[in-house]
Symmetry: C2
Subunit: 304 residues, 2 copies
């Protein structure tokens, strides 16, 4: 089976990443596309997939593995959420199968969690990245920052808790469309202003009040308007850290950040203000590819 190839696709709302891997999970080829799920009707997925992986060797005995928004209610076909606690085998048990003229595809379910207060949280795609980013037996936190930042607590390799923070979306809305936009010019990074925002959010949980300080800092000339974007980013990421650390306590044994280097560095900087060190950073594409590969090995072991 050494010649077997594995095809996996991380199919998000806006972007698509397709991976061709060998049986050991080594990446042989990768293709990126902008044909994310929000632009597709359910009936368009088969032909978009065909074009995306055209020319790649496809083993008819091995389904193509898909994760992400492709499995949402408004995607290709709904793969109902698995529930925390969950590890790769639990998610593999929830794979849904679609048979197409080109062969079978299987879609990874999203993952849902319910906290002690009865609040639900969900992710789609990040569960596969987490599986690809951590080793067997991992204990600690995994962060996938972004539009909707995901914080996942992991115990003995099992995802046990999940919180979503609307950090990226709030930043975009507030910096462009709120009263704060008048106090913000450009988005050049100012590390000191960023850390000031982080430390204030860690000290005072009143986010909807702290946000207004973007305006007053500019109004009283305490921050130049060219530094307020960094300050706002710091407030939002600081609030995220305060809420996220509550998943595991103030000193998680390990913290893994999934994301591009610039974003991972920003979070490492913010976490340092909270006295927390990042153990590892993993690129999102690499994490997704490795997670999809882990699902494929699980299929093999099950004889699927």
């Amino acid at each position: 089976m050494r010649d077997t190839t594995i095809i996996g696709v991380d199919w998000g709302s806006t972007n698509v990443r397709a991976f061709l891997m060998d049986a050991d999970g080594e990446l042989l080829d990768r293709r990126d596309s902008a044909r994310g799920g929000v632009r597709l009707d359910a009936g368009e997925y088969p032909q978009v997939l065909r074009a995306l992986i055209a020319g790649w060797p496809r083993d008819p005995a091995r389904p193509v593995l898909l994760c992400g928004m492709v499995g949402a209610r408004e995607g290709w076909a709904e793969a109902p959420y698995a529930r925390c606690p969950a590890q790769v085998s639990d998610l593999a048990a929830g794979l849904i199968s679609i048979v197409t003229p080109d062969g079978e595809v299987r879609i990874v379910p999203g993952l849902a969690a319910e906290d002690a207060d009865g609040l639900m949280d969900v992710m789609r795609g990040e569960e596969t990245q987490v599986i690809g980013a951590i080793d067997h037996g991992y204990d600690g936190l995994v962060l996938a920052p972004g539009t909707h930042s995901k914080w996942i607590s992991v115990t003995a390799g099992r995802m046990v808790g999940l919180k979503t923070f609307m950090t990226g979306e709030l930043f975009a809305l507030l910096s462009a469309q709120s009263v704060l936009a008048k106090s913000i010019e450009g988005d050049a990074p100012d590390p000191a202003a960023f850390r000031l925002g982080v430390s204030r959010a860690l000290a005072d949980a009143s986010l909807s009040r702290l946000l207004f300080s973007v305006r007053t800092e500019a109004l009283f000339g305490r921050l130049p308007v060219t530094s307020t974007a960094s300050y706002l980013s710091g407030l939002l990421i600081g609030a995220e850290i305060q809420g996220g650390l509550a998943l595991v306590g103030p000193k998680p044994p390990k913290v893994t950040v999934i994301g591009v280097p610039a974003l991972a560095a920003l979070y490492a900087d913010a976490l340092a203000v909270a006295g927390v060190e990042v153990s590892a950073t993993v690129d999102g594409g690499a994490a997704a590819a490795r997670g999809l590969w882990r699902f494929s090995t699980h299929l093999t072991r099950q004889g699927a």
Copy 2:
């Protein structure tokens, strides 16, 4: 001087309210206009004021009193912020004078506060409403809910602290333009969903995380999409209450809400979830008129 009339204008960003009062502060006439400050250049104020109060008896010895955005940097003329702690006499000392061909006008300064963490907060117009809403010697909180909700702590009739929460603006942005918009249909009130949001925000300060639960409550069918607007409103107002009560402790001696009856009732409902009773509610226009009148009596006492 019994025949003397007093003219005061609450000149906000979007709306203008002009009041004609007798020497005892009794309202003789009121006019409303949509010629708020955001639509005016500085040079337009004199003629807009002339039209607004046309036909009202104007005592040449008594300046017309203005409060609100009219005194902002981008208003008619800047009336620099007074600082907490402040009572009516402190603000009266900061009135700025403009002499026009029609007579003198004076503009009430806004009020700024700096908290123990070095955070600045500001208001313009609400300081006059607070002065109009409370009695001499008042102890407790005054709330002026809205786009930017103001919480003012008052000790012995003196405004000592101030916090602004971006509640109304966040609600508008999130319900119309964020991912949450897909989970919200209409804005019919659902008191139970509202109270659920309030109690969750009181229990968990992670606002940017709680907001995402608007989506998950709808996704898992726990709240109908016709109830999620109320739930979102509850989350934001609950977060505001949690942060606002920190100004005075969990059991303020008095709580006065300034606002139209529907909004005041909503806040009374939310405060009840936190175990706090509203002592009084005051209409915003009535509070502004009475506050402007109090400034006028102060001028008299100073012989101005």
